[in-house]
Amino acid sequence: MAYSILITDDSETIRAVLKRTISMTELPVSAIYESSHGKEALEVLHNEWVDIVFTDINMPEMNGIELISEMKKHPEYRKTPVVVISTEGSTTRVKELKEKGINDYIRKPFTPESIRDVILKTLGGWNESK
């Protein structure tokens, strides 16, 4: 079984870098969806199966924190794991986000190893997903 991943970031560059980084992990991926803010992410979640969401925090229209809150309101994807990818490094902020229900937090710039590790840690290894 392969992973279905949603990347939410207002930066086209970061979305492309993250897609490349995910491909470098050599993990099996069936689909990578992209969105530039939280509202677009919710549309994807409503229409597609997603195993894991990577999201930035600072985005126009709907930011990452608002996206996480909205996801928790919908039974069909409130349990979809969310990993925040951000430039901010405050442990206080990370703690706040974990209390809101995120699964993990990665700082930019990120490495293929950190992306791979968080996917495996969050989804429990690809043989066990779905």
Binding site: S11, A16, G89, P109
Partner: protein, 146 residues
Amino acid sequence: MSPNNDLFAKTLINILEKTAFIFIDDLPTNNTFEYECDCIGIEISYTGDSDGSCSLWIAKDLATEIAANMLGCDENEIENKQVDACKEILNMTVGNYLTEKFGEEPVFNVGIPNQIPENNPNDTDHYNKINWIISNDLPIAFILSE
């Protein structure tokens, strides 16, 4: 350079190396650079335990190389992606700089980076506060306001 500017420069250099494989020539000792060039200018502000802002200019040819390296494609495939790449460089630099300077406890709200109209840092009102670093004889300039 002042200690803050020096720390910012070192953070920026680290980000450029790690994310865009751009390496910096020796830092100029007199911190001046008489160079007429077309740059991409980006600014970002932050609030929190300390408020501040930063403007960053990157020579367009260098910005093209940065975008191509980050996106993993040829420079001739880069169409209008340089600005977004530069925004991300500044975004990552400011985030990491604030952590380096203030530690991991304080919370900062870092704004969304915007392009600024001045494409030559020497044309700005604060030209006397510019800090320069050079990569392959191409300039990168920043002004840190805290």
